[in-house]
């Protein structure tokens, strides 16, 4: 599903965020990418959504070689990958319904389809009763659930979660992780970048550990070891 072959990325300040990374994630896997700040975790997410491009190597997502993706193809790529961010990245002047619907509108979905699918997805994340609320009227956990609903709206094969519980308390963290596990059970490949040791250890899933841009460990059923 996701293949990084000998990928390196250096930023303009000279910092090497990723060094010769080889990473292969199969369909349906739930993978945690862990490491300290600046180890290159988020760089992987940014590379996978073509927010930045590798200096070296090859990146393939769902059979699509995106190493040298054309600019006008980037929106198409992003509609096929669900992404959840630590800071939620919700549109502040749009309601819960509109935020989720927006992801369909950009793809040119018709109104009837939007009005059918959005409530269904919002019900999966248990937000049916808050569809007319604005993001600032929601708790952190609820905001993250809106972001997950938006990421799921295209029924993506891959869900990237960049520190999805970074701004949440323990209770909300558990809810979000349970939700991600549920999504994974339906067959979606989930790649989660996290700092949360307890979460990673409780998952008992594959863990990839990064250190200074290098993949130092890749365990099938891993633990947070840093």
């Amino acid at each position: 599903m996701i293949h990084l072959v000998d990928v390196s990325k250096k930023f303009s300040d000279g910092a090497e965020a990723l060094k010769n990374a080889d990473l292969h994630i199969e369909p349906g896997e739930f993978v945690s990418i862990v490491g300290q700040s600046g180890s290159g975790k988020t760089t992987i997410v940014r590379l996978l959504i073509s927010e930045i491009f590798p200096d070296k190597g090859k990146i393939v997502v769902g059979g699509w070689d995106i190493t040298h993706i054309k600019k006008h193809h980037i929106p198409l790529l992003r509609r096929q990958i669900g992404v959840v961010f630590q800071d939620f990245k919700l549109l502040p002047k749009k309601t819960v319904f509109e935020n989720v619907a927006f992801a369909l509108q950009v793809a040119g979905a018709i109104r009837n389809r939007i009005e059918t699918i959005v409530p269904q997805v919002l019900s999966i994340v248990d937000l049916s009763n808050k569809i007319d609320r604005y993001p600032q009227e929601l708790s952190g956990g609820e905001r993250q659930r809106v972001a997950i609903a938006r990421a799921l709206i295209h029924r993506p094969k891959v869900l990237l979660a960049d520190e999805p519980t970074g701004n949440l308390d323990a209770l909300n963290t558990k809810d979000i992780i349970d939700l991600l596990l549920k999504i994974n059970e339906f067959g979606t490949t989930v790649v989660m970048v996290t700092h949360n040791k307890d979460t990673v250890n409780s998952l008992k899933r594959r863990v990839i550990t990064l250190e200074d841009g290098l993949i130092v460990q890749d365990q099938k059923v891993g633990k947070y070891i840093i």
């Binding site: 959504i49 927010e51 006008h72 929106p75 198409l76 790529l77 992003r78 509609r79 992404v83 961010f85 990245k89 919700l90 549109l91 502040p92 002047k93 749009k94 927006f102 992801a103 509108q105 950009v106 793809a107 040119g108 018709i110 938006r150």
Partner: protein, 305 residues
């Protein structure tokens, strides 16, 4: 598909306009101020042009013929002069009318009245009162009058008395035009810069939203279009507000201006009514153009996500 995207862009623009109502109002207010200053310059331009043309209308050249010159000869000269392209109008005043006018002008002067009585006949000849289309045309007309064949017929031409005045008015008129043009240019540039920056600031406040839209897979035009429509809406409303405020303002101003330039006919409202489409249409097009360009430039850097 295109119609669906267009429909959505308009809907998003209206939504954003309403949900960021204070930002929208601030943008409209800046557009209103800029347009008001541009229209104020148009008013100044109308006033100065009217004042200058009123003064110009009062300038003419009187050609006094000798008393013995027959009316038919004067009529012949009048016809020849009328064929000149520089001539706006020629009025013939007969010897009798000239005498009556002279008497009326010197009604209180007993010496002149007595002298006229002592004279047996009418000492005055016919007069042609010549008006040129432009002040600069007078020398050309006078050159035509200097024809040697007219030398024995013309008693006097009063243009030399007017020459200084005409030159001065010409100078003032030209300088006034240049000054108004320069001020207009400066104001228009300032207005453009202010609107440009206002739109840029408005876009700046949306930079996070633009980045989020990109991250969830929106194409550049899907993001740009609502902002463009929103800026068109602000421009349109800015123009409407300007029209609503400008007319009462001019109505209030007109009597003061008219009394200041006593006797000169100013109809500023008439001018705006007559040129409504030209003035406000071009202002609207200019505002929309500036808004589209500035929002396009401002968004460019935020779209690289």
């Amino acid at each position: 598909m295109f119609l669906l995207a267009l429909n959505r862009a308009i809907l998003f623009a209206l939504q954003s306009f309403w949900r960021n109502v204070w930002l929208s109002l601030a943008t409209i207010f800046v557009i209103f101020l800029a347009l008001l200053s541009v229209n104020f310059l148009i008013v100044v331009n109308v006033i100065s042009n009217s004042a200058i043309s009123a003064v110009k209308d009062r300038i003419d050249v009187s050609v006094y013929f000798k008393p013995e010159v027959r009316e038919s000869k004067i009529a012949e000269i009048k016809t020849r002069l009328e064929s000149l392209p520089q001539i706006k109008s020629i009025v013939y005043r007969s010897a009798e009318e000239s005498l009556d006018t002279f008497k009326a002008r010197h009604e209180g002067d007993s010496k002149i009245q007595d002298t006229l009585k002592e004279l047996a006949g009418n000492p005055m000849g016919g007069t042609l009162i010549v008006q040129a289309k432009e002040l600069k045309d007078y020398p050309e007309i006078l050159k035509a009058l200097d024809d040697p064949s007219y030398g024995d017929l013309i008693e006097e031409k009063n243009f030399d008395d007017n020459r200084l005045v005409i030159n001065r008015i010409n100078l003032i008129a030209n300088s006034a035009k240049k000054v108004v043009l320069a001020i207009s240019l400066v104001f228009v540039i300032i207005a453009i810069l202010i609107i440009f920056n206002t739109v840029r600031i408005a876009i700046f406040t949306h930079q996070n939203e633009i980045a989020i839209m990109k991250l969830v897979g929106a194409g550049n035009w899907f993001i740009r279009m609502p902002f463009i429509f929103e800026s068109i809406l602000c421009g349109l409303l800015g123009c409407v507000v300007t029209v609503i405020f400008l007319y009462p303002l001019i109505s209030g101003l007109q009597p003061y201006v008219a009394s200041f330039f006593n006797g000169v006919n100013f109809d500023i409202i008439g001018y705006f009514n007559h040129n409504f489409i030209t003035i406000f249409g071009s202002e609207l097009i200019a505002i929309i153009f500036i808004n589209i360009v500035s929002s396009g430039i401002a968004m460019g850097k935020y779209l690289n996500v």
